[in-house]
Symmetry: C2
Subunit: 195 residues, 2 copies
DNA sequence: GTTTGAATTGAACTAATGTTCAGATAAAAA
DNA sequence: TTTTTATCTGAACATTAGTTCAATTCAAAC
């Protein structure tokens, strides 16, 4: 039957995911109990099972949703036509997207081993898909002669690791604005691959 | 009383740490039970408490030992006199050291939140100490005019993140040798900070 | 062979875990 | 108002957790 306006499940479902995201990011998947999540939502533990078949699926859904959002957001980003403009777009996009959702990023990187191997495979496929977007840009620059990259796969991993690292230290109230950080990182990325 | 030759504690102690390291790296600290560790060692769970006061201290000891080893190994590394030779030494050292002990590295990055805040502080201090080694090199190159680094703190984090990322994808039997990976990464690091 | 003392067992304890479900509640439909 | 249906509670279940400790084993010292 279709959802009714104002029904509780319209509210509680998202609440569960938000609470789980927060707690998993803060304490780790294995260290968070269903009762803690329920407490955060303002409900008893049993009620969570109206919204997820089990704890692990709850984790998977959070990751899946995150990866889908990532790929979709990149698809809708203006990239320009040259290797340089595309690499700049990617660098800025990655930093911005990650800084906007630190909890989801944290989980996506740290809780992979808590997925069943089936679910792990699904997430890894999406991650690979995202990495391929960057690799394509590097290959593009290599063919135009703008970039000098001895190994595009390796350079892809290096650049993504560098950009992802921002989340480990950036603080909103810190010394540098997000815009400035984007600027400097883009400069380092460019120099590391430009001819 | 002094340790007797051949006494069990000479053997079991290290075994406990090795088993804990392996299991924590594979399944995560919170997901590993004392009984699992004991099983791996070939002993009952109670016996572990001859070698650690509790589970969390066991984790901390692993991390502490790792960080001490890291700093000591860097101190004993030949670095040369120029900014370039020192940065190359650091890049190669970091990759090599990390690839030699993937489990300890994994734990050192992933299980920080399972430490008490007191223990967390101690580990963070050591990590900062290590990062400072790299930052000093970048500052050195900046003053000699060899490097062009708009913000040394930020560049430090960027370079370390990039180098540490190797552990996430490198495989012994893979396409590239460790030597070749060192080569390429050092090249990217150099270009990202050289004038 | 006997004593000594460390190493280890195995059972026990309390607390907490993920999950289930019969029953209560409350809101929408009739 | 009555019926229906989604939502939620609260207790229960079977496991498992970290940790303790009296009792035992066992190897070295005498």
């Amino acid at each position: 039957m279709a959802r009714k306006r104002g029904s509780h499940s319209d509210i509680t479902g998202p609440k569960v995911r938000t609470a789980a995201l927060r707690l998993f990011a803060r304490h780790g998947f294995a260290a968070v109990s269903m009762r803690q999540i329920a407490g955060e939502v303002g409900v008893q533990a049993g009620a969570l099972y109206l919204y997820t078949p089990d704890k692990q699926t709850l984790l998977f859904d959070l990751m899946k949703e995150h990866m889908d959002e990532l790929l979709s957001a990149w698809d809708h980003t203006e990239k320009g036509r040259t290797p340089f403009s595309q690499l700049e777009a990617f660098s800025r996009f990655h930093i911005r997207f990650n800084l906007e959702r630190p909890e989801a990023i944290f989980i996506a990187y740290m809780e992979l081993r808590n997925l069943s191997s089936e679910n792990f495979g699904k997430i890894e496929k999406l991650r690979k898909e995202y990495e391929d977007k960057l690799e394509e840009i590097l290959c593009f620059g290599q063919t135009t002669g703008d970039f000098l990259v001895p190994d595009t796969k390796l350079a892809t991993m290096a650049v993504i690791a560098m950009l992802t690292g921002v989340n480990t230290w950036f603080r909103q109230e810190g010394r540098l604005s997000r815009e400035r950080v984007e600027e400097i990182y883009w400069d380092m990325v460019r120099r590391s691959v430009a001819k």
